[in-house]
Symmetry: D2
């Protein structure tokens, strides 16, 4: 199974002061999985096998609900190539 890039933005429906804490909670969970990821202002991009990343997507929504969201919209982008895609090939040149 190829390595893909998957970006996830969760939009929990909660009073505004609770949006960032819930997003932080999801990012903490992503960190805990041990996969490679990078946080950006509107989404977090992960690198790994698609199966694993889709499981994280599922879990992220459960976390939002558990933390108090009545509803969650998630925006996800997948970059898929049979030979694999890396975060580094995309942005390393901008940060070296």
């Amino acid at each position: 199974m190829p390595i893909v890039n998957l970006s996830l933005q969760v939009l929990p429906l909660v009073p505004e002061e609770k949006v960032y804490p819930i997003v932080d909670r999801v990012i903490k969970y992503i960190k805990s999985t041990g996969i490679k990821y990078i946080v950006a202002p509107m989404e977090t991009t992960m690198e790994g096998e698609l199966d694993i990343l889709l499981d994280i997507v599922k879990k992220a929504q459960e976390i939002c609900v558990k933390e108090g969201a009545s509803r969650v919209i998630s925006v996800i982008k997948i970059d898929y190539k049979p030979e694999g895609v890396t975060i580094d090939e995309k942005i390393k040149k901008y940060y070296v």
Copy 2:
């Protein structure tokens, strides 16, 4: 597991005349799964259990590659509520 809405837009990297045929092939596959879905100009929205819909997302990308895409970007949106979300509650009023 709650019923969710999931929208999928596949963007296969192919010469332009092959874009629509590949998208049609993906929609044909979605139809073959028997789930409820609706085709829109920029994405197809499906209704069902998240596990099943994420499996369809995975398969859609494999179809694009099998049909000749060197790379596939997918844009996915999930609308998730513990009590479930239906396509009808969102758009029925606009089509009756």
Copy 3:
């Protein structure tokens, strides 16, 4: 200026029972502009000149705030070709 397709999903941050009424208000506004559009479960796709559609995007956000949203996330997709893109070329075959 070519005819493009632009999809807009507005996600107003409001208590859940107010989400659909605000989305309806935005769609009513889109209808009032006289442009061609189609409502789908997760976004509304419009057809027209990019300048005009981006003005509608801007106005949509102001409407959400005016109707009570403390914050609005919009997800927008543009399909752009120098020769133009139509809604019909994409979905007519699925609805005839």
Copy 4:
């Protein structure tokens, strides 16, 4: 007019080896505008007045076509609040 965050992902339809050079060309243009921005693996997020950012979105598509794309799909996300939204409030804690 409030300061917003706008994320832009351009997906030019070109042979694969030309994708990154065109995306680089768009990012170079964004840099040349002098606005605040941050490059992520799947999108570049900008901070500024919505009018200015939407003009950049428009120009980005013209650049893709000028550089050889037969078609361009853009995925855009706007985070809009009357009091303004900053990139720093969202990600600074992750990079300090």
